[in-house]
């Protein structure tokens, strides 16, 4: 191969880099836990923290409640100031009189009462509106993972580090949870049915195979299971779980008790054997999971973090940085070979016509049943 050809092929390979989801046995996981607004950090550097440790607190300004005083006591807006019995900066209790209008020697009495407890922030003589700021709302941030505080960001938060097994899912619903991992299937191909979920799974994170049925999810939620990790879920069941049809994949704030992390996709899909074996290996370990997913700019994938000291930290995989090349293990992520795992045989430079008649960049993959040609956009690298 000439130098020019080598350069061209390496450029092609760089193009072919399709990051896969991370499935790591032992890496240092760093998590930055930040307050939405400045506040107080409650832990110190080098301090050990547990999943539920509160690491920072802030006070978000309270809600303003607005009352149209002029309408309540039936006067002109510009007169409101003259009839206020409380002024800007005064603290008031809910139901306390803030303005009164008693014409005709008190024969008519009209009062405006505070709709909530708080501080009077503004009185408008144009609209007659009075703004009462409610007391600040405390916001606590927990550690989410057990580990060590390695950095304190003054007034904003902390960075926590922990040696962990780390798995990214493809899609999830529900927020941060933690619990002991418990397998409810024997293999990555089995379906999680309702009969496999028992009361002993309360507070745990259960691991399934290719699919969780709607009945099984409902039972898990009823029994107080904290999370489910599974290969697939039927798209039509998602609506039943959420109570609405999901439009865009921005999740994590659903009102559900059992966080769901899907590792492969929609439909019955065997969990990748590597993911399944890793979860099996850590059965009984405490794990933190988060279903939060965002597919648009700033991609967020659901994650499973299992703090552990069983295995030494792995070095980063340089082959990934180099992109895809013959020998790279890949997973096909679209029909007709969806979910199949194979090895890259070749990366033809020229565009090829596929069944749709589109001319696209392709690669040749060796599957169990033989070699196939698929669009490069339809595979992802399996991180080993």
């Amino acid at each position: 191969m000439t130098a020019e050809e080598t350069e061209k092929v390496s450029a092609e390979e760089a193009y072919a880099y399709t990051p896969g989801l991370k499935v790591k046995k032992a890496i240092e996981v760093l998590r930055t836990r930040m307050l939405p607004i400045p506040g107080e950090v409650l832990v110190k550097k080098k301090e050990d923290v547990d999943f539920d440790t509160k690491v920072a607190r802030a006070e978000v300004p309270g809600m303003p409640s607005i009352i149209r005083v002029n309408e309540v006591i039936n006067i002109a807006p510009e007169e409101v100031k003259n009839f206020m019995v409380k002024n800007v900066g005064d603290r008031v209790e809910e139901g306390e009189i803030i303005a009164k209008y008693t014409p005709f020697w008190g024969l008519i009495k009209r009062f405006a009462k505070a709709p909530s407890t708080g501080i009077i922030e503004a009185i408008s003589d144009i609209t007659g509106q009075v703004v009462i700021r409610e007391p600040p709302i405390p916001v606590d941030i927990t550690a989410f993972i057990s580990g060590k505080v390695v950095e304190v960001i003054s007034e904003r938060g902390v960075v926590i580090e922990t040696p962990s097994a780390f798995i990214q899912g493809i899609f999830g619903i529900g927020g941060e949870k933690h619990g002991k991992l418990s397998l409810v299937v024997e293999s990555n191909e089995e379906i999680v049915t309702a009969d496999r979920i028992e009361t002993k799974h309360k507070g745990k994170i259960i691991v399934g195979g290719s699919l969780v049925t709607l009945e099984a999810y409902k039972k898990a939620e009823e029994l107080g299971v904290n999370g489910i990790i599974v290969g697939g879920i039927k798209g039509v069941d998602l609506k039943e779980i959420l109570g609405y049809e999901m439009g865009v994949a921005i999740t994590g704030h659903e009102d559900i008790n059992t966080t769901l992390v899907v590792t492969e996709g929609f439909g019955k899909m065997n969990m990748s054997i590597r993911t399944f074996n890793l979860l099996k290996d850590f059965s009984g370990y405490d794990a933190a999971i988060n279903g939060a997913t965002q597919i648009r700019a700033g991609v967020i994938r659901p994650e499973i973090i299992i703090p552990q000291e069983k295995y030494p930290i792995e070095s980063s995989d340089e082959s990934l940085e180099r992109g895809m090349r013959p020998g790279t293990p890949v997973r096909i992520i679209r029909e007709p070979y969806f979910g199949k795992i194979g090895i890259v045989v070749s990366l033809p430079v020229h565009l090829q016509k596929i069944e749709t008649e589109s001319d696209v960049r392709v690669l040749e993959v060796k599957l169990e049943e033989g070699n196939v040609v698929v669009p490069r956009a339809n595979v992802e690298i399996i991180e080993e």
């Binding site: 493809i170 039927k234 798209g235 439009g247 439909g267």
Partner: protein, 627 residues
């Protein structure tokens, strides 16, 4: 171009003055679009005295960690052009070389951006259907995504509005309300709600949120007093000085100015990008909208444009000179594909499929596309499913557009006749498909369609053009690029647009009306440019294609029957000239509104008949579906 009005080609003299070379000596222009996922660079070059598109370079956008600097993505995209053209544009330290020297650098550089979700705005006004609606149109026209429109009369209690404003975290707020000299109290009421909510900017808590006030001029001092310290306040002319007039231009300009000054300057890497660019950075949809306006200006006709993207669908109309943009923020072909399913319903997507597909299989297919948005259809079946979804996304996008492109509510209609008033109430939108002369589409699905007839039919089925309508699409994605370039050099932009960007798909002839299947409804008599004649009586329920090459024309006489209208009135003959295209002239006698049979077998038969007639998919596959 000599036959065009010279007023279209007004250059931005300020820009011309700043040029390093006289305009005639310019030779290379680089324009980029920093998209939410991909940064696209386009090089334009003068060849034999004529401006042409030269090359494309694309690279992932680097606004997020670990790079957090958009410049990296821009450099990578430009480097790809350098490699493909063997021409140096960047210096060793990665800066654009300007001014151009003999064999490297460019003369001019500009960019659009939608990175990080584009410009996200909240608008507010007094009356939902009047000032708030005008504020909404102004923000959309400026290229923003409108997160919410708050009005005094929108029926939400104060606390709900406050909670919403606090949770939104927009990039900017546009506040309208009141005619000049009109209500002050209600304008201040909504302003006080915004002030009390104290919303924070999306890109950081450390700077003031920009707020444009475009309401009643008499309350300006009170507005300044109330929000002047809390917000980066900009006061412009009233958007509705009187109810009969909508003046969105000053608000739109202020939005673009604040977008540069406050929003872009806080995004990672943008200060440097702003230094590179010779024009203000525009939001991507604003650039796309300008390109659509350019078509309308040059052709002097009403245009309906659409950008069908992965996340959003933008629809633009230039109707009797009025430009309106709508954005359906969650209708798209990848990230938002599940939302098309939600909004359209499974049945509406399935009705475009000539084969059986279980509902649950459809749901899983689309949800899998959503979570792996960069995958492409490998099988013909999945391509046909995506085309079905596209029809629905486009249909819903236009439906949404019609709710924005409305007549001014509140304007006096005293001089109208009773009949006219009835019509006015019934049809809030002024978009009349019979008067739309050009439909222009852009976006990955349309431009990547393996056969051009596929995008023509998707646009036709979704938008249902009436009468005689030309259908365009872009060859390479560069409408935002040419749009922003047109603000300084419209003539250069149009030359590239005309020669290298616009693909003329053809002309659709569609009589309006309904009849029984098989009933003869239209006689077409066409004198072809090669001297031959095409004549045929078409039955209701047909769609046929008559080949006519791009840039060729044919004289046609259309004689509708049975009350059908092809533009001249019911049963009136229309004699006109039609333009060709890569697909040709498509005569669509399936009726308006277009109906697809609900029974599966009848539907399959109809779809396959239509698809075969346009040679839409491979013959063999269509035969398989028939079995």
């Amino acid at each position: 171009m000599s036959n065009l009005s010279s007023s279209i080609w007004e250059k931005d003299e300020e820009v011309v003055l700043k040029l390093h070379w006289p305009e005639e000596e310019m030779e290379r222009i680089i324009v980029t679009d920093v998209g939410s996922t991909t940064t696209k660079a386009r090089l334009f070059k003068k060849v034999n005295g004529e401006w042409r598109y030269a090359e494309s370079g694309e690279s992932p956008t680097t606004v997020e960690a670990p790079y957090e600097n958009v410049i990296r993505g821009v450099q990578n995209a430009v480097r790809e052009i350098e490699e493909l053209t063997n021409y140096t544009i960047l210096s060793e330290d990665g800066k654009i070389i300007k001014p151009r020297k003999d064999d490297h650098g460019v003369d001019f550089c500009c960019t659009t951006s939608s990175a990080g979700g584009g410009l996200q705005m909240m608008v507010a006004g007094v009356i939902k259907t009047m000032t708030t609606e005008s504020a909404n149109r102004a923000a959309l026209g400026a290229g923003a995504i409108v997160m919410d429109a708050i009005a005094v009369d929108d029926e939400r209690p104060h606390y709900v509005k406050i909670e919403r404003i606090r949770n939104l975290r927009p990039d900017m707020i546009l506040l309208a309300g009141g005619t000049d000299g009109g209500t002050t109290k209600l304008v201040m009421e909504i302003a006080e709600i915004i002030a009390a909510s104290d919303p924070k900017a999306r890109l950081g808590v450390d700077y003031k949120l920009p707020l444009v006030f475009a309401g009643n001029i008499t309350v300006r001092p009170e507005i300044k007093k109330l929000v002047g310290d809390k917000f980066a306040l900009s006061i412009v002319d009233n958007i509705r000085p009187v109810l009969e007039e909508e003046n969105t231009e000053p608000a739109r300009m202020a939005i673009h100015e604040l977008f540069m000054e406050h929003v872009m300057s806080h995004a990672p890497g943008y200060p440097e990008l702003m230094e590179w660019a010779d024009l203000d950075i525009l939001p991507t949809p604003a650039g796309e909208g300008m390109a659509m306006q350019l078509i309308a200006k040059v052709e002097g006709k009403n245009v309906l444009g659409v950008g069908l993207g992965g996340a959003t669908t933008n629809v633009y109309s230039i109707f009797n000179g009025r430009f309106v943009r709508s954005v359906s923020a969650n209708l798209g072909m990848s990230y938002s594909i599940s939302n098309v399913l939600r909004e359209a319903g499974k049945e509406n997507i399935l009705r475009w499929l000539p084969f059986e597909l279980e509902e649950s299989e459809l749901v899983d297919m689309l949800r899998n596309k959503m979570i792996r948005p960069t995958t492409i259809p490998h099988t013909l079946k999945s391509l046909v499913v995506e085309h079905a979804v596209a029809r629905e996304a486009l249909r819903l996008g236009l439906q949404h557009h019609k709710t924005i492109a409305t007549r001014l509510k509140g304007a006096k209609i005293a001089h109208r006749m009773v009949g006219e008033m009835m019509e006015y109430r019934l049809r809030a939108t002024y978009i009349d498909m019979m008067k739309i002369v050009i439909i222009a589409g852009t976006g990955g699905l349309l431009s990547h369609a393996p056969r051009r007839a596929q995008s023509l039919l998707a646009l036709t089925d979704a938008f249902q053009p009436e009468g005689v309508t030309k259908i365009y699409q872009d060859s390479v994605f560069m409408m935002p690029h040419l749009g922003v370039l047109s603000t300084a050099f419209p003539e250069i932009a149009w030359n590239i647009f005309d020669k290298d960007c616009l693909v003329r798909l053809g002309t659709v002839i569609a009589p309006v009306g309904l009849a029984e299947q098989g009933e003869k409804i239209l006689n077409v008599n066409m004198d072809m440019p090669d001297g031959t004649n095409f004549e045929r009586d078409l039955e209701f329920g047909e769609i046929i294609r008559v080949p006519l090459e791009e840039r060729k024309t044919a004289e046609v006489v259309l004689t509708p029957k049975s009350e059908f209208d092809v533009g001249a009135g019911p049963e009136k003959v229309l004699q006109t000239t039609v333009e060709g295209g890569v697909v040709g002239v498509v005569i669509d006698t399936r009726g308006r509104p277009l109906t697809v049979p609900t029974d599966f077998d009848a539907r399959k038969e109809a779809l396959i008949k239509w698809f075969k007639s346009l040679d839409l998919y491979p013959e063999e596959s269509m035969r398989d579906w028939e079995k």
